[in-house]
């Protein structure tokens, strides 16, 4: 353990200007939690859809509800974001895009890609 440190600790997250890579990282974590919470519902739908014709019809009925569509869009968005941000981490681990400027650029690509994905998901689900 370090000796008693009298220096003030100033770590108010809301007052520190976070770089884009930090925001992407936080969003990656939030998306992961969302996906974990969505998992039992996804397995439930898979179970129903593969069980019987009635179950399959039931899934279609459930997914045609407005609120379910909204949930599906949000979950697919979380999935897209988590996969893109995860791919970025994998690339950084093998030495691609490690430098700060480049890492920030790829973080922006993911931020924009995530919005594009949201629009696409919404388009596919609502259409």
């Amino acid at each position: 353990m370090l000796k008693k440190n009298k220096r003030p600790v100033f770590l108010e997250l809301t007052r520190i200007r976070q770089p884009i890579s930090a925001l992407i990282s936080i969003a990656h974590r939030i998306a992961g939690i969302v996906l974990f919470l969505a998992l039992p519902f996804a397995i439930y739908l898979l179970d129903l859809s593969l069980g019987s014709q009635q179950g399959y019809d039931r899934v279609q009925a459930i997914l045609s509800h407005g609120s379910a569509k909204l949930a599906v869009i949000l979950i697919l968005w979380a999935l897209a974001h988590h996969v893109f941000a995860g791919l970025r981490v994998l690339l950084i681990d093998i030495g691609v895009g490690v430098e700060r400027e480049e890492a920030r650029r790829t973080a922006w690509v993911i931020a924009i890609g995530s919005v594009v994905a949201l629009v696409m998901m919404a388009g596919i689900v609502l259409w």
Partner: protein, 110 residues
């Protein structure tokens, strides 16, 4: 299973992520190439031997990936021992139950 910590947890997370990305690509391309229609089509699509095995491996790795990830989140924010222990136990129990559920679905439809 061996405890997931340090370098091993890091490696598990990366390898499972790589597999899941490949599965996702394979799944989407198959959906586009041979779009299944109706219940029978969907069932046939998911129960083809290759797809069935790939899906089983997907869920196995997904649940391990979720464990490593959620464990990191809990360790970062929950410091009281009792709370941390309870939440981690609930998460582990939930993941094991989901694993059994998926296995049952895949075996039943195979």
């Amino acid at each position: 299973m061996a405890r997931a910590h340090g370098l091993r947890a890091w490696l598990i997370q990366r390898l499972s992520a790589a597999y899941m990305i490949l599965y996702l690509l394979f799944f989407l391309l198959s959906l586009i190439a041979r779009t299944p229609h109706g219940f029978e089509g969907w069932r046939g699509f998911m129960t083809a031997p290759l797809m069935s095995a790939a899906t089983f491996l997907l869920f196995l790795l997904l649940l391990i990936h979720a464990w490593v990830g959620m464990r990191d989140v809990v360790m970062d924010y929950m410091h009281a021992f009792k709370l941390r222990f309870t939440v981690l136990t609930l998460i582990a129990g939930g993941l094991i139950a989901m694993g059994a559920w998926v296995l049952q679905i895949l075996v039943r439809t195979a």
